[in-house]
């Protein structure tokens, strides 16, 4: 029986060093942000001992900056901080709503978008919204820094593209320009405290005539990983994002979905509902874009 251990390195370098050395010595290691997944997992599914490396003490993971071109959300920023940032909420209402869906007030005080992404669940609520917003993962490791688009980050159920010596520093989100709006909707059987049966995030940019010039759609909980659905975005571009265009986008989402039947929903149910969510989120994103 091994031991549980905890470390909270003070610098990015020492964090990478610790991750590298424990990876090479075969020590089981897990990065900790808010811990709202890690602690639950340690008490249920997987109780084995491990080294916990807390990344909340690092200055770099606590950066929250709203620039002209890029919004940067450090990996240790708790949802509650995002929710209370009025500027952020007005710029990326859909992404912030997706973060606001996570858990309860208590959970929000700890849970991070970074943790949600790194947990890499197919149902992680912020991931489709991040994909729709063309967010990029800012990763650091023994080989230095690299950027990976969110849609390429998650590789399977609970797995992602980071090596043992790497961790997430933060997320870069292109700042919305002009008439741009985003939205995220998920379906759960309850009103809160639940896990998405399906989810869809949409970001659209409209020109002065209301014609869509750019659109991205991300979907969740309907495939082993959250997906970018280019066909759904394409179905909106060049349209007024009207009923017909939204129905086409919905059909593209349903076609892209490859869900399973499980205790949370059937294949048929998820395929249908992910389309419904895309349609509804698309309408909200359009209205937000117009209102800008």
């Amino acid at each position: 029986m091994g031991d549980y251990a905890y470390a909270a390195p003070a610098t990015v370098d020492s964090t990478v060093e610790l991750l590298s050395s424990s990876a090479s010595s075969g020590t089981r290691t897990q990065v900790l942000a808010g811990g709202t997944d890690v602690l639950v997992q340690m008490r249920s599914i997987d109780r084995g001992p491990r080294l916990i490396v807390d990344v909340k003490q690092l200055a770099e993971t606590n950066v929250l900056s709203i620039g002209e071109d890029e919004i940067y959300i450090g990996a240790a920023i708790a949802s509650a901080i995002l929710n209370e940032n009025a500027e952020l909420k007005s710029k990326l209402p859909g992404l912030i709503e997706s973060a606001d869906l996570i858990g309860s007030t208590q959970i929000q005080g700890r849970a991070t978008i970074g943790g949600n992404l790194c947990n890499s669940s197919p149902a992680g609520d912020t991931i489709p919204a991040l994909i729709a917003n063309s967010a990029v993962c800012h990763i650091v490791g023994a080989d230095g820094e690299r950027d990976v688009p969110v849609e390429d980050f998650v590789t399977g159920v609970g797995t992602n593209c980071m090596a043992d010596h790497e961790f997430l520093l933060g997320l870069r989100v292109p700042a919305p320009k002009g008439n741009t709006g985003d939205a995220y909707l998920r379906f759960i059987p309850r009103t809160e405290m639940d896990i998405a049966v399906a989810g869809a995030g949409v970001r659209v940019t409209l020109d002065d005539s209301g014609t869509c010039t750019a659109a991205r759609v991300g979907i969740g909980a309907v495939a082993p990983t959250p997906l970018l659905v280019p066909e759904a975005g394409d179905a909106l571009i060049g349209t007024q994002v009207d009923e017909e265009a939204l129905n086409a986008a919905a059909a593209a989402c349903s076609a892209a979905a490859s869900p399973i039947t499980d205790k949370r929903g059937t294949v048929e149910y998820r395929i249908k509902v992910v389309g419904v969510l895309c349609k509804r989120a698309g309408a909200i994103a359009r209205d937000r874009a117009k209102a800008r």
């Binding site: 109780r47 379906f187 309850r190 405290m193 499980d262 059937t266 149910y269």
Partner: protein, 738 residues
């Protein structure tokens, strides 16, 4: 019986005596006790839903450093089915069935040591549904189980068949202008109490054990534990903690005999606490059911005949609540012709336990859906149809007794004029109505009233408080003694500290234990009159008790000042010693409680989600001792019923492994799912209780199931027979209907 107008304490809403301790976190619950040298016990559970145990080897666990004891089925020699459920013997009968246990210096070590226990199984086919269990050639859960014990018939998974019948059903249906029928399934549902089962046990060299645990009945824990261990009840003391919910689920035992045995072997106290997952996999939920209902009526709404065919999953051992299901199914109606048939069916799932009005929600779901369809066919208001056929004082209930005064008609009439009913549902919403019922029980209770030197009153009784009963006891004592509520405190005693008391269940506590408290107060009053008579040198029948003090009777010529309870207590040493009142009884005439519920729902046609927009419950409480706690019971029961109607269900895979053994996927409603649960208390006093009390705790869970089904029927324009009305089921039905 005291008239409502005379009542001073009863009907008020004071703060509960246990409130401060609970809201400040000081109250001790099942897992809160820690003793020096205490070990932690953990249970090894079956990975199979049905298998023969070929061998169990505990030696690997015992070899782990820090492990001090290990046990298996043979260490629990008694208790019959109960003992076999506590630790399996020849067969494991459900996934999660307890097979062995260890006690170690830490919970972590105990858990790791479980991996070192070697169990050899011969895996058998699991029986996972009523349909499978009653099919010809079904695998037998128990090879020596014969229906109703009749060994002249082949062994069967149907443990028992119950029948109630009256009149000529065939003629009744022939006389009907309209006949409706349906088949309805209700899934397994768990009570969902927040506090998992927990206990700590210690046993000394004389074989005397003490058990601390969260339970609805310390005396039942004592006798059940004694049975399992072949001990005398007097060898075991059971100390109940505060309880974080029970709803019937804590009327049986799982851990206690194991903890005592592990303590006996190790010589140390042993604590055992279940995880939520263990609670789901191995404790008793209530039955999944398959019910058929058929009702016929004249065109004026008079019901001419009704039949109910009810099959209830018992889990691994006989004992589904199909009896109460049969008793309840037609209880609201005055009928000449009916036939009710119930089946107690074994399946390879956890043994069911009581859950709030055990058995009634399922059977009444079926019948109240059929009655709703009947109202539609007849184009009658659903309340009018029920009023037309309502049971009343003098009606012979389908299960035998003649009803004394009951409040069904009063509830229906109150509903008809309720603004929530007279206002139609909002555009796009559907409304459903249903009636609920629970017969309630009485049984044995004891109470002692102790008066302190300053006149403060302590009630000692034996009913674990799961719904504010201590407050109700204090209110009834305040009323009877004529003193302020604040001068009274109530305590739930352990098995050595108070007289025998049946378990808190069947909505009996405020009724039966309340009656014992009232009688014990009357005993105190009698003693006070004697003490006053002694002090005043009067005859005892020259003394009255009025507003909490002894006074000379009108016309008695005595120049004395009234003596309060405090006055008498202060000088008790000079008049015969401390004041101690007591009563024990076997309470008769619990008095059934009826309810009427209606709910408005909205259905999202694209996702199948049912939103409950409004809910109203009207219920007969006989007399609401503490109206807030009556309303609390009505609201809590409604939420549990709505949860069961909407999303709660056990989901099993093909091997009989529960797939949703946690609150993430076993979906009880969260607060934001629920509308305001509006309540109206009706008071038709129970003639058997001094203040008219009827039990109120169970009835509220009964009607919400059918009310929701009927509301969804109204919203969609077609009926979905089965529960839960979860989004995938509703959307599939909408798609099928198109």
């Amino acid at each position: 019986m005291a008239e409502a107008v005379d009542l001073k304490a009863i009907g008020t809403r004071p703060v509960r005596p246990d409130g401060v301790e609970k809201v400040t976190g000081r109250a001790n619950f099942g897992a809160d006790l820690n003793l020096p040298g205490m070990l932690h016990g953990k249970i090894l559970r079956s990975p199979h839903a049905h298998a023969r145990i070929k061998s169990i080897d505990l030696s690997g666990a015992l070899a782990v450093d820090g492990v001090l004891a290990a046990v298996s089925g043979k260490d629990i020699p008694g208790g019959g089915d109960l003992g076999d459920n506590v630790l399996a013997n020849e067969k494991v009968l459900y996934h999660g069935h307890a097979v062995a246990a260890v006690a170690a210096r830490s919970a972590f070590i105990a858990e790791q040591a479980l991996d070192q226990i070697k169990v050899e199984y011969e895996v058998l086919n699991p029986v996972l549904s009523i349909d499978d269990a009653i099919a010809d050639g079904a695998t037998l859960v128990n090879e020596s189980q014969h229906t109703n014990g009749d060994t002249s018939q082949p062994a069967s998974n149907v443990a028992a068949v119950t029948k109630f019948e009256r009149g000529d059903v065939e003629k009744g249906f022939a006389d009907a202008d309209v006949v409706v029928e349906g088949e309805y399934r209700v899934p397994t549902a768990h009570q969902g109490y927040i506090e998992p089962h927990a206990c700590t046990a210690t046993i000394n060299e004389e074989g005397k054990a003490t058990v601390w645990c969260c339970t609805q009945g310390q005396f039942d824990v004592r006798s059940m534990t004694a049975n399992c261990l072949n001990k005398q009840v007097s060898d075991i003391r059971v100390i109940p903690s505060e309880i974080g919910g029970g709803f019937g689920g804590k009327t049986t035992i799982y851990l206690e005999p194991v903890a005592v045995k592990l303590s006996e072997i190790s010589g140390r106290p042993v604590k055992m606490v279940m995880s939520r997952e263990e609670v789901f996999r191995a404790t008793g939920p209530t039955s999944a059911t398959l019910c058929r209902a058929k009702v016929g009526a004249k065109s004026d709404g008079t019901i001419t005949a009704a039949t109910a065919w009810l099959a209830y999953e018992a889990g691994a051992y006989p004992g589904a609540p199909v009896g109460p299901g049969c008793m309840s199914v037609l209880a609201p109606y005055d009928l000449e012709n009916f036939r009710i048939e119930g089946r107690d069916v074994l399946v390879n799932k956890p043994k069911v336990a009581a859950y709030r009005a055990p058995g009634a929600p399922q059977s009444m779901h079926a019948m109240e859906c059929a009655i709703d369809d009947l109202a539609r066919e007849l184009d009658m208001d659903p309340l009018d149809l029920r009023l037309k056929n309502a049971a009343d004082e003098g009606t012979v209930a389908p299960y035998g007794p003649q009803y004394p005064a009951i409040g069904l008609r009063a509830c229906l009439e109150a509903a008809k004029v309720h603004p929530n009913y007279t206002t139609p549902p909002a555009e796009g919403q559907g409304r459903g109505v249903a009636v609920g019922f629970w017969f309630n029980i009485g049984m044995q209770s004891s109470a002692e009233i102790r008066i302190a030197e300053n006149g403060a009153v302590t009630i000692m009784e034996g009913s674990p408080d799961i719904g504010g009963s201590r407050a109700s006891m204090c209110l009834m004592a305040a009323e009877t003694l004529g003193i302020p509520y604040e001068n009274i405190n109530a305590h739930v005693g352990d098995t050595e500290a108070t007289g025998y008391c049946n378990t808190t269940g069947g909505s009996r506590t405020t009724f039966a234990t309340g009656m014992a408290v009232i009688e014990a107060c009357e005993d105190i009053i009698a003693q006070c009159k004697e003490r006053a008579a002694l002090t005043w040198e009067l005859d005892v029948d020259q003394v009255d008790w009025e507003d909490g003090q002894a006074v000379p009777k009108p016309g008695v010529n005595a120049d004395v000042k009234p003596l309060s309870l405090a006055d008498i207590a202060r000088s008790a040493g000079r008049t015969g010693g401390p004041l101690l009142g007591r009563a024990s009884l076997n309470a008769q005439g619990p008095g059934a409680s009826f309810s009427v519920n209606w709910t408005d729902v909205e259905v999202d046609h694209e996702t199948g989600k049912v939103d409950v927009k409004a809910f109203t419950g009207v219920q007969d409480a006989g007399r609401a001792i503490h109206p807030s706690y009556v309303e609390g019971q009505m609201q809590g029961g409604a939420v549990q019923g709505l949860g069961w109607a909407l999303n709660e269900e056990y989901i099993y895979d093909a091997d009989g492994v529960m797939e949703n053994a946690g609150f993430l996927d076993y979906r009880v409603p969260v607060t934001s799912d629920m509308p305001m649960i509006d309540t109206q208390i009706v008071e038709v006093p129970n003639p058997s209780h001094p203040y008219g009390v009827r039990g109120v705790g169970e009835t509220p869970i009964v009607a919400p199931l059918a009310a929701t089904s009927n509301a969804v029927r109204d919203a969609l324009g077609f009926r979905i027979n089965d529960l839960p009305l979860s989004p995938p089921r509703v959307l599939a039905a909408i798609d099928d209907n198109e």
